[in-house]
Amino acid sequence: MTGLGVAGVVLQLLIVVALSPLLTGMMRQLRARMEGRAGAGVGQPWRDLRKLMRKRPIAPHGTTEVFRTAPLVLVATCLVVAAVAPFVTAASPLDPVADLFAVVALLTLGTVALALAGIDTGTAFGGMGASREATIIALVEPTLLVAIFALSVPVGSTNLGAIVTSTLHDPAQVFSPVSLLAAVALIVVIIAETGRLPVDNPSTHLELTMVHEAMILEYSGPDLAMVELASSMRLTVFLGLLANLFVPWGIATTGQPLLVAAAVLAFVAKVALLGALLAVGEVFLAKLRLFRVPELLAGSFVLGLLAVGASFFLA
């Protein structure tokens, strides 16, 4: 267990928890400006969280522990992923957990907890959101795993640290067709997993279009704060993974304070850039009909399979 590893874990946790609401705020502000609105400011999500934390909790009638613990599980899974993923350093002391499959499965666990909470409320909205979310997970999972497969073939490992280190040593890997196809497949999947346009609209409350918002309709006060924080953290974590799997440069390889500081800055800049791109893209997109989403995901699945094929024939 190196000093760099421990410092990296602490730093990653701090960055993800503190800055992810700001990422959401930045994206909303960017969208607002591009749509000709003034916007609420970058700090608004944090102000919302503080306000929600002070509210008195509400326990809806007939809900069970599943409903009450789901926000905790959701936040906890994001925290674990934030701690083990190679954001600032690849020398994580939790290396045996930092497997791509494990990370993906952990994030899915959070979604499952929320879907169960949606069903647990017993309202039509909760069930509807859970049903749609379960459908999307069932289709996202294969694409995600095939994309991981494509990425891991050249490296010979599914360990996140190993993939990142291998790309650092061999930069040409990034520009191979394997990487590019896998990157496109992963981007589609990440959009679906984090509930962004065109799969789900994070700012809607219309029953025809809701997925994520329908599941969390009964949450309020501190519980809602946790759910909101977790969904920002999920976005940060996914964008961070995307950034560092394909463009890992800047990540700290030794424990020099200056390098670590540079790694932190590089990570923040990369995620902010990706977030900004996503926000700009969303301005020009409308939400897809729910039953068109599988076509999108099937397309990205084919890209993933092509990436695997390419990884064999170009090896």
């Binding site: 045996p96 169960l116 859970a130 599914t158 695997v308 064999f312």
Partner: protein, 677 residues
């Protein structure tokens, strides 16, 4: 007498005695006596299996028990795995059965005497050491399980139908195994396994292939592999739940055992290089079963039928591992073959644990409500907290998410498939990515399936008065569930305890060294890069949970929670009819996979007499037929029925004509004899 043999004899002896006890003890004590002795017998089998896995072996010859061939039992490491699984399942199911049989009126002499015989037969199959013994035990297992499946035939007509399907399919499978093994034995000195192993080297590839396919059909149908699965989703839901647990968690495994035993062990000498297509076939059918099974489970609404289809899915995953192991072994990549086999065996163990738990808790819910349709369940958390927790744990384990048990075995399976790409040939390069995609799709659909089964079945509000009145099951059933739950938790957190042994057995089966290395709490793959620590993952997750809780406690207001109505759009209290049901939950998935599933739905609208604009009633029906059954089985059944009807014309009831038939048949036979001489 060593430990293996002593434990095995205890298991068989206690099993036999408890069958007698089932016949002789008075009704009041019968379920308890049988249940306890099944548990003891299972525990002994578990000990024998574990001892066999750690390297002890034993052989027993009873030449006088069966005329001509005699009976031969040999216990080895591979058989030990299946012996241990069967024993473990029997321990939990035995105790569970005490309460279940009492509640369900299954305490009659017949059922109680056959139940221990079924367990004993399952214990004997993996230790059979010759063709004759294997067939004998296999048939005993088939017959006893059939009797148990139709135990409740007086109550529901569906049971009798399920029994007929099961009886026909299990015996057709038996015929296939019989043909395969007899062809094999005809080429050997006698029917004992060592003789078969010796003879395998001299078989031509065609004969070896024939033996593999014939036995594969029989064993595959027992394992519920597509397209021979048709009996499974009928028999498992209609059997009493303790029998379903035994069948689904222990009996189907023996189909996999047969495939491994014949393919790797008995035909091992013949398998050099030429046998790639065998394993390609196994892998392909495994992948097809996994996807088809979980797809049917994802849209199913009958809880036990859903679990039955999930068994098809899991056996499919196991066969993907077995097939991959075979492909790697024939291409000479032994460490990966060992890894794939270890993944398959570990998944068998995990599946046995969580499927026991799921069938037990489903049975408990069924016993309390009398409803098996998920659309009628719900809200069981209030009345049955223990059962709900048990099913939740089982669902977590089955959906392959951490910290569940199946996550570890599916991780191992994916690692084996992923690392297989760079080394293997062209066929592997095409098959492995598709296999990964199949496993991945299965994992995704399994999540949706078990969110539905647990969420709709146990959470939310009750959808029927029976579900609202449900009360917790008796202590014996809860104890049985507790044992299975403990096994699930143990396998999820500390697979490092069982993996060294399973890895060694898997390595020995494919002729490799140990494919796994256990480093403290971390599983490390040997030969390829990869490591995972399930315990560390869980601990990190728990720390994350504690940190979140502490953070919220520190930040959030300390005022007590206020109870409030659910959001009902201001339209008064929500009724249970407004909830999502299992059917509506699965509707998007059904639409997405409509090309495969072809659901049949029709809507009948009755209009008011006065005006066609006013609707009086709307009736909606939806049925998702098993397409394989419809395409493959129904034409055969229809053709057979047509044959039968055509044959009836030959039998108009005239005695003269029947005598004529006899006369002509005799003459024909005599002519044939004269001509052929």
């Amino acid at each position: 007498m060593n430990l293996v043999l002593a434990a095995l004899w205890t298991a068989v002896g206690v099993g036999g005695l408890s069958a007698v006890a089932g016949l002789l003890t008075p009704g009041r004590f019968r379920p308890a006596a049988v249940g306890v002795s099944v548990t003891v017998s299972g525990a002994a089998a578990l000990v024998a299996g574990v001892a066999a896995m750690t390297g002890q072996s034993a052989a027993v010859v009873l030449p006088d028990l069966l005329p001509l061939s005699g009976v031969l039992f040999t216990v080895d490491a591979l058989g030990g795995v299946f012996l241990a699984i069967t024993g473990g399942v029997a321990v939990a199911v035995g105790i569970y059965g005490i309460g279940y049989c009492r509640q369900h009126g299954l305490d009659g002499r017949g059922v109680q005497a056959v139940l221990p015989l079924f367990v004993t037969a399952m214990v004997l199959v993996p230790v059979a050491g010759s063709v004759g013994t294997l067939l004998l035990c296999w048939e005993l297992m088939a017959l006893t399980s059939l009797l148990l499946v139709i135990a409740e035939h007086q109550g529901r007509p569906a049971v009798a139908q399920a029994g007929r399907w099961y009886a026909v399919m299990t015996h057709l499978g038996m015929v296939a195994i019989l043909i395969g093994l007899l062809v094999f034995a005809a080429n050997a000195v006698d029917g004992s396994f060592p003789a078969l192993r010796e003879a395998a080297g001299g078989l031509s590839p065609t004969v070896a292939g024939l033996i593999f396919v014939a036995t594969g059909i029989g064993f595959g149908s027992k394992a519920g592999i597509v397209p021979l699965h048709a009996w499974l989703p009928r028999a498992h839901p209609e059997a009493p739940s303790n029998v379903s647990a035994l069948m689904s968690a222990a009996m189907v495994n023996l189909g996999v055992y047969g495939i491994i035993r014949v393919g790797f062990d008995l035909l091992g000498g013949a398998a050099d290089g030429a046998a790639t297509w065998w394993w390609l076939l196994v892998l392909t059918l495994g992948a097809a079963s996994a996807i088809y099974g979980i797809l049917q489970a994802a849209i199913g609404t009958n809880l036990k039928r859903l679990l039955g289809y999930s068994t098809t899915e899991n056996m499919g995953l196991v066969l993907v591992g077995v097939g991959a192991a075979g492909m790697f072994a024939t291409s000479g990549d032994l460490p990966l073959a060992g890894l794939a086999m270890a993944a398959a065996l570990l998944h068998l163990v995990n599946h046995a644990a969580f499927k026991t738990l799921l069938f037990q808790s489903a049975g408990s819910a069924l016993a309390a409500t009398g409803r098996r349709d998920l659309d009628d369940l719900g809200g069981l958390r209030a009345g049955m907290p223990g059962t709900t927790a048990a099913f939740g744990l089982g669902a977590l384990a089955a959906s392959a998410l951490p910290p569940g048990a199946a996550f570890v075995s599916e991780w191992l399976l994916l690692q084996a498939l992923i690392h297989g790409l760079p080394t293997a040939g062209t066929s592997a390069a095409i098959v492995m990515p598709l296999a990964v995609a199949a496993v991945a799709l299965t994992a995704g659909l399994a999540v949706a399936t078990f969110v539905k089964a647990f969420g709709i079945g146990f959470l939310a509000r009750p959808r029927s008065p029976e579900a609202a009145r449900a009360a917790e099951s008796p202590a014996s059933m809860l104890t049985g569930m507790g044992l299975a739950a403990a096994a699930c938790v143990g396998l999820a957190l500390l697979p490092t305890l069982v993996l060294p042994t399973i890895g060694a057995v898997a390595g020995a089966t494919v002729g490799a060294t140990d494919p796994l290395q256990i480093d403290g709490m971390t599983i490390r793959l040997v030969g390829v890069a990869g490591s995972l620590s399930p315990l560390m993952l869980t601990i990190t997750l728990v720390i994350g949970l504690a940190a979140t809780l502490a953070g919220v406690r520190a930040q959030a207001t300390r005022r007590a929670a206020r109870a409030a109505r659910l959001w009902d759009c201001g339209a008064g209290p929500l009724s249970a009819r407004m909830e999502y049901t299992a059917t509506s939950f699965a509707e998007p998935l059904q639409r997405v996979f409509d090309d495969v599933l072809r659901a049949e739905q029709d809507v009948d609208v009755t209009h008011h007499e006065e005006s066609s604009y006013l609707v009086q009633t709307i009736e909606y029906r939806r049925r998702v037929p098993d397409r394989i059954e419809r395409r493959l089985y129904e034409p055969v059944l229809t053709a057979m029925a047509a044959w039968g009807r055509a044959g009836r014309r030959l039998a108009p009831g005239s005695v003269h004509r029947y005598l004529g038939y006899g006369f002509y048949a005799l003459c024909g036979l005599l002519i044939l004899l004269v001509v052929t001489r």
